[in-house]
Symmetry: C2
Subunit: 160 residues, 2 copies
């Protein structure tokens, strides 16, 4: 299947921030970016940790992707740098068109492990994306639903 959805890195500007308001998961992270922009703490058009897919002029899917340093790795064996993916969301009306898939593939394309916290009842989606549920560790996971994508040669880090 061809993938026609281009994933682009989003810039921090007022247009992007306005688009973010269309997404359900809107909170402190977005408000903080807005404040930083208003107070000139970040420059207009500076790079954000968000990646998105546009349909014409409209942002219809997005995710945040953040590189975590090996020294904080509690998920993978051997411990290594990995990507934490969160706030993956495709607007209603644009779902089922492979946009979420394109975003996840972009994350996987870096060849390093990817960790996410699966939202309620989204397990099927993540399994379809080649992710697997980790063994739940209360101290580490605290109510999260950690799902990971493991590249060749990487396994789950087990509790000590």
């Amino acid at each position: 299947m061809m993938d026609l959805h281009e994933v682009v890195r989003l810039k921090v500007n007022f247009k992007t921030l306005e688009e973010f308001e269309n997404f359900r998961e809107y909170g402190q992270q977005e408000l903080s970016m807005k404040e930083d922009l208003e107070e000139n703490i970040v420059e207009n058009d500076s790079e954000s940790p968000f990646y998105g897919v546009y349909f014409g002029n409209k942002l219809v899917g997005r995710m945040s992707l953040y590189q975590i340093d090996k020294k904080f790795d509690r998920y993978f064996e051997p411990p290594q740098d990995y990507l934490e993916l969160w706030k993956l969301e495709v607007l209603p009306g644009y779902q089922g068109k492979g946009i979420g898939n394109a975003l996840v593939n972009f994350a996987k394309s870096h060849g390093v492990p990817v960790k996410t916290n699966a939202r309620q009842r989204s397990d099927d989606f993540w399994i379809k994306q080649g992710f697997e549920a980790l063994t739940y560790q209360t101290d580490r996971d605290r109510g999260e639903n950690p799902y990971v994508w493991l590249p060749e040669g990487v396994s789950e880090q087990l509790e000590e």
Copy 2:
């Protein structure tokens, strides 16, 4: 206003686990408890990190409450033991009756700071409960919406 909702600590047994299936936030934590019970890793009726409110025989509200050690505290000044509250949820049909409030008050009654990750668009609820949003720190918060309740003499831990 009188508070008629008794908050009880939930036991790990098959009845509780069956009740958990009625809640939207059902994931690895619940599945892991189920497995532990089936494989006799935990005893029937052992204590869970969940607290709940019953209406008659039916579990209608719940939350998970977990004590975090001072050495992992990145939220409070001075750094101290605190409670992490997650999966606060009241079943549809039982909302607006003070059940969520009773659960949060139970958490606050321990006199230590409480930290939660506010779900999308739930800010008003937490503010009404006396919580406040923390200044967003990307490295620490990774897409979370951290809200905290601060007892007298405790303030927000600022970025180093």
